[in-house]
Subunit: 221 residues, 2 copies
């Protein structure tokens, strides 16, 4: 990390051609901030460049264009989430507790990066098959693999019911993501304009209780 | 229903200006078929009109354009699903069993109309706030209201755990829809190219078992 040097260079120079790592990171951070603030991923590149205080031409230079910038941002955020998953997997706790914390972490990640769900959906939808495969492999694949391992360990030690791990995980991710997936339904059906910290926590509780114990009341007590 | 008269008229006349109800329904059915077969909602209007054997200009006449046709198709399919929900609600079975069958019905609906998930998502995403509100109100609202009633009845009689019905239903719908939401993840992560009847049934079983009883194995037996 040569951040100090780069920053010193930038302060002394015109912003149009800063040293490589800083401008790239500034653009990613600016994209993240502007998309979070405006609650949309449709933001002009010029606004992102202005926030980053770098020349808009650097987007082409570093990312090859807007799609490349968006993909790099998804990868940056995914890397953070995957790092947290790695730390979680190394803890000395039961598989079912790891699974619970992992799913809570998925909800927290989409809350922390309010544009991330739409960004991934848009990239998977509009991008080439290659980009879709790329995202699936760098992000969805490691998650699915970790969850599968946890399910299998829990099934083996009798703490988790013998459900199909692959299908369970698809369903579990759907439950975690849904509140972030459709703002119009949230607004027009449930009267919720914004997902704040309190709602995020309440939602995580309901999702995790449902996934762990289900909605049926225990019988015979 | 004046279907017989209309069909008789159509057989005798050029297809360019058939009587109103038939051409409208033919276009909806053609759109449904073509989108199902091609596994995409991006189909040219000319192909839909050709399948319906009507003049493409009738799309503007009946629907005001492609968006109107797609919205009308979503409404047609939603009406079928809502009709089934009405019949289900009138049955003399417990609230938790109604909830289970309703959620199974949601999965079946998305399987039966393979384009419906994407169509609703695209309409909610790209359309005006008015269209999004319209869809939320004619489709999502009645579902959410029915589910809320079932949850409350089940909580009252002790068969359903006291979870927040609104948040539970958001999560439950997410679980039901997820396998239909992202074909790229299905393909590149799970190696699944197509959702067939068998997979749809297995997925419904896992989703419903998870939502009803959770993934945790029962303790102490």
């Amino acid at each position: 990390m040569q951040g100090g040097v780069v920053e010193a260079q930038e302060k002394g120079k015109a912003r149009a051609a800063p040293a490589r790592p800083a401008a790239r990171d500034l653009l990613l951070q600016a994209a993240s901030e502007v998309m979070s603030e405006r609650q949309t991923i449709d933001v002009p590149l010029s606004d992102i460049a202005a926030r980053a205080e770098v020349n808009v031409a650097l987007v082409s230079y570093y990312f090859g264009g807007k799609d490349g910038l968006l993909l790099a941002l998804a990868k940056r955020d995914a890397a953070t989430a995957l790092g947290e998953l790695d730390r979680l997997l190394s803890l000395n706790i039961s598989p079912e507790e790891k699974l619970r914390r992992h799913l809570a972490g998925v909800i927290k990640t989409f809350f922390r990066y309010p544009y991330l769900y739409r960004l991934l959906a848009a990239l998977m939808r509009d991008a080439s098959d290659e980009t879709a495969r790329d995202i699936a492999q760098f992000f969805a694949q490691p998650l699915a693999r970790a969850a599968q391992g946890l399910m299998e360990a829990g099934i083996a030690n009798g703490s988790i019911r013998p459900l199909d791990p692959q299908l369970f995980y698809i369903a579990a991710l759907g439950a975690c993501e849904q509140i972030f997936a459709n703002r119009a339904i949230l607004k027009f059906v449930h009267g919720i304009e914004e997902i704040d910290e309190t709602l995020q926590r309440r939602y995580a509780e309901v999702v995790l209780e449902t996934l762990m114990r289900g909605y049926l009341a225990p019988q015979g007590d």
